[in-house]
């Protein structure tokens, strides 16, 4: 059977939960395993309760799952809060010398984390690394891999060495003292070149690959790490990343840069996006290609800043007054974050409109192993450009009316070419107009772009048998959980397939209709309270959805939870 392992590191902010979790995840990835890891933390810098979950498997793993094989509880609160999630056969590792009297259920194993850290490195702070070593010891993993990683992470100087020492101490302690039974034993399989990265990192890589040259963004969880990653690479890749005074400035700067001729992007969450709405309409009206990443978190307002939700779909689809075409892409996996970001820039320039990449906290900050991106198929397409020679003598008109609705773009600074555009309704030459006829033609020209765009959108991904009774439908970050839920249900004999929408607008109405047509029951699974995709499907296809499986507590779905809800609804 496929060996698998589910570890959680839990503690308070400042205890290094994130770095221990990350190193664990990476250690297994290096050893050839598939990994999926997610983060749960509060909106504070120190204290509180955080955890980092790592799921490890020989086969591809796409979602979190609940029963824990190992809990690394870095403080007492974490032990109390999380031990209930242990699987039968799971083990909690904690520091019995620090944690007071607890009723030992036999599944708790005390390791003197602080003492070992102090003995080996004269620093209690490294207790977390001891815990890391203990976990690896428990599964008998190849310590050498962890050693390498610790050196990469903490440097090869004294800090790195100390960390290796204390990790080793934890490792050995468990191997010597653990006498219970623990089933999971993992050895490194075939070392792999798989990457381990977050959705945000994949987006940042996608933007660099697409030749994005200008990023203006204002920090906002969970989008911030996109701009941070890009800022770190700005010098090397010749792009400018700036943090302006607010989100209004950010989107309008991006528009200006794109108008001048470079690929440009911003990234934010729902609250910041609210401030970008007027700018979005400006991009629509002036037909300026821009890419906006909106990484959702639970709203309304500040909501739960460090948690996840899919509550902004309808908002994004209709944001800004008036009507203009836009594209909305919602990657379902970390790979997709890369590919769809790349595609977003192409679509934005080819159709000269704003493209919104809609993700959420769960996707933005979770890690997964993915095959190294094959860049060979990527081609940058800047769309229809004005050829000055062709049109010699002709005056350049930025908004020339064409059958496709697409007007050739020119960049600024070319002799004999003036690029004029306006947020007022304008004529082909870009100057403002007042008459009804021009207005109508310009609206039609812009809206016509949707026809071409519609044809380019990839149909939703179906997984499972064609004629299944039950269809599970989702969008964005729930993809992995839904796929696994379908597996579970199929394993129980239910006839299930799933449909995942990642290219959401223009809406693939026909394909969705067709998929619905074959199923007897359809469930839309969403991390929100009203079933926004379900609404959209109903509006666009005129077809009813059997049920809505919703969750809006800021936490991601597990496959088990989805399967259970489907069972409850009657398969």
């Amino acid at each position: 059977m496929d060996s698998h392992l589910n570890i959680m590191v839990a503690g308070e902010a400042g205890q290094g939960v994130q770095s221990v979790g990350f190193i664990l995840a990476k250690a297994f990835a290096r050893g050839g395993y598939h990994v999926f890891a997610d983060q749960d933390y509060e909106s504070r810098v120190r204290g509180g309760h955080n955890f980092f979950r790592v799921r490890v498997k020989e086969a591809r793993v796409r979602a979190i799952s609940e029963p824990l094989d190992i809990l690394l509880a870095l403080n007492e609160e974490s032990l109390a809060l999380r031990r209930g999630e242990l699987a039968t056969g799971g083990v909690a590792i904690f520091d019995g010398e620090k944690v007071g009297d607890i009723s030992d259920s036999g599944r708790l194993f005390s390791v003197p984390l602080e003492r070992l850290a102090e003995e080996r490195a004269a620093s209690k702070l490294m207790a977390n690394t001891v815990a890391l070593g203990s976990a690896l010891g428990l599964v008998g993993y190849d310590f050498g891999i962890a050693e390498g990683l610790l050196c990469e992470h903490f440097g090869t100087g004294e800090t790195g060495e100390a960390n290796v020492r204390v990790a080793r101490a934890g490792y050995d302690y468990v191997r010597e003292h653990f006498e219970g039974d623990f089933d999971v034993h993992l050895g490194a399989t075939n070392p792999s070149r798989r990457m381990l990265l977050t959705g945000n990192e994949a987006i940042a890589l996608g933007a660099i690959a697409a030749g994005c040259k200008f990023v203006a963004a204002y920090p906002m969880t969970p989008a911030t790490s996109i701009m941070e990653y890009l800022a770190a690479k700005a010098e090397e890749f010749g792009l400018v990343v700036m943090q302006p005074e607010d989100e209004i400035a950010a989107i309008n700067m991006v528009i200006g840069a794109s108008y001048a001729g470079v690929r440009a992007m911003t990234a934010t969450s729902g609250g910041g996006f609210c401030l970008m709405v007027e700018g979005l309409g400006l991009a629509g009206m002036t037909e300026t290609p821009i890419v906006v990443v909106e990484a959702q978190r639970p709203g309304p307002a500040i909501g739960l800043p460090t948690r996840t939700e899919q509550g902004d779909l309808e908002f994004i689809l209709h944001a800004a007054h008036g009507e203009f075409p836009r594209a909305v892409l919602a990657p379902g996996t970390i790979e997709d974050c890369f590919w769809l970001t790349f595609q977003a820039f192409n679509l934005a320039e080819r159709y000269q409109l704003p493209v919104i990449l809609l993700t959420d906290h769960h996707l933005a900050s979770s890690y997964a192993t993915v095959d190294e991106f094959d860049l060979s198929g990527l081609a940058i397409d800047r769309g229809l450009l004005f050829e000055p020679n062709e049109a010699a003598g002709l005056e350049y008109k930025r908004h020339r009316i064409t059958d496709s609705g697409i007007s050739p773009r020119a960049f600024l600074g070319e002799e004999g070419v003036l690029v004029v555009t306006d947020s007022d309704e304008h004529g082909e030459d870009g100057h403002l107009i007042e008459d009804a006829e021009t207005r109508t033609r310009m609206m039609q020209k812009r809206m016509r772009k949707l026809l071409g765009l519609q044809k380019e959108m990839a149909p939703p991904e179906r997984d499972g048998p064609e004629g299944a009774d039950t269809l599970l439908i989702g969008w964005g970050s729930t993809q992995g959980a839904i796929l696994e839920a379908a597996d579970i249900l199929r394993g129980e004999g239910t006839s299930v397939s799933s449909l995942h929408l990642s290219e959401l607008w223009p809406f693939p109405a026909e394909a969705v209709s067709r998929a619905l047509g074959r199923a007897r029951r359809s469930y839309v699974i969403e991390n929100n309270a009203t079933g926004q995709l379900a609404n959209l499907i109903q509006r666009e296809t005129g077809r009813n959805i059997t049920g809505r499986i919703l969750k809006y507590d800021g936490r991601p779905f597990t496959p088990a939870r989805i399967a259970q809800e489907v069972r409850k609804e009657g398969g």
């Binding site: 290096r30 798989r194 990457m195 381990l196 990265l197 990192e201 890589l205 660099i208 690959a209 030749g211 040259k213 200008f214 203006a216 700005a234 010098e235 890749f237 010749g238 400018v240 302006p244 005074e245 209004i248 400035a249 950010a250 309008n252 700067m253 528009i255 200006g256 840069a257 794109s258 108008y259 001048a260 001729g261 470079v262 690929r263 440009a264 007027e278 700018g279 400006l282 002036t286 860049l375 990527l378 081609a379 940058i380 800047r382 960049f411 600024l412 600074g413 070319e414 002799e415 004999g416 003036l418 690029v419 004029v420 555009t421 306006d422 947020s423 007022d424 870009g430 100057h431 403002l432």
Partner: protein, 284 residues
């Protein structure tokens, strides 16, 4: 040699006698005197009577939203530093809706010229108070009088602008000089222009301004490099109103400090996916 005719644009929709005509004439003249060809000029503008200005000359034009001419100007300048970038605003645009961009563009010292048509009223929306309306100015939205106005000159100096000037639409020749200086200045140059609105501001008229304005160039002792003196001048508003260059301090522009621009204009860089391969190894 660039000629005035090269800048001939559409007919204006302004009221006859509006101060904006003087500003338009001065701007064309300044660009011609500087021998800058239209295709090298980008004017961004906001919404209001002032915001219509760039439609009335020939240039690259991005007519943006109310209050937002500065951010697209910044984006375009960073993308293509070879452009001569001028942002045009009204007083409502610049100091009301767009106040935050103004302050931050000044402190970051983006290399753009900010031309503000300051008629102390909202013209296009028909006569409401603006952030620079004189204290107690009565309009339909301030029937009991406007509050203390924003002082754009003082604010610009406090915010860190490297070039701060005031012009008067009734003195085109003088304004041409300020525009030339502002456009050639490296860094953020604010030129606030007193602009009579003949339709809605019946207090601050041509005459009212004429009786008060004087030129700092006529004060041989005045040193625009002296920040404190500039701040003191900025307080003058009443019997006498100073025009001319109030403050200038050359310092590195935002764009000069960007490492990515050292290898040339962003618009000229080749786009290719392959180099991202270098980064993939970080994640394995």
């Amino acid at each position: 040699m660039v000629k005035l005719a090269d800048y001939a644009g559409l007919d204006s929709a302004w009221c006859p006698g509006c101060g904006n005509f003087g500003i338009l004439a001065a701007l064309k003249q300044a660009l011609v005197e500087l021998d800058i060809e239209p295709h090298r000029v980008l004017i961004t503008s906001g919404i209001g009577q002032a915001g219509k200005l760039p439609h009335y000359l020939r240039c690259n034009l991005f007519n943006s939203l109310h209050g937002r001419p500065v951010p697209p100007a910044i984006g375009a300048k960073i993308a293509n530093p070879d452009l001569v970038v001028i942002a045009v605003s009204g007083d409502g645009d610049a100091y009301g809706e767009g106040g935050n961009h103004f302050v931050h563009a000044a402190r970051r010292n983006h290399d753009i010229t900010y031309l503000v048509h300051d008629n102390q009223v909202y013209g296009l929306t028909k006569g409401q108070a603006s952030p620079t309306s004189d204290e107690d100015f009565i309009t339909k939205t301030t029937p009991h009088g406007a509050p203390l106005p924003v002082n754009p000159i003082a604010l610009a100096i406090a915010a860190g602008a490297s070039f701060v000037a005031r012009g008067f639409a009734g003195d085109v020749e003088h304004l041409v000089g300020l525009l030339r200086a502002g456009i050639t200045h490296r860094g953020f140059a604010l030129i606030d222009v007193l602009q009579p609105c003949v339709s809605f501001n019946h207090k601050n008229t041509y005459r009212w301004y004429r009786e008060r304005v004087y030129k700092l160039e006529d004060e041989p002792d005045y040193d625009p490099a002296d920040r404190m003196a500039a701040f003191a001048k900025a307080q003058e508003w009443g019997e006498r109103i100073p025009t001319g260059l109030i403050y200038r301090k050359v310092r590195a522009t935002f764009e000069e400090q960007l490492p990515a621009l050292r290898r040339g204009s962003l618009v000229e860089q080749k786009l290719e996916p392959a180099p991202v391969a270098r980064l993939l190894g970080e994640f394995t």
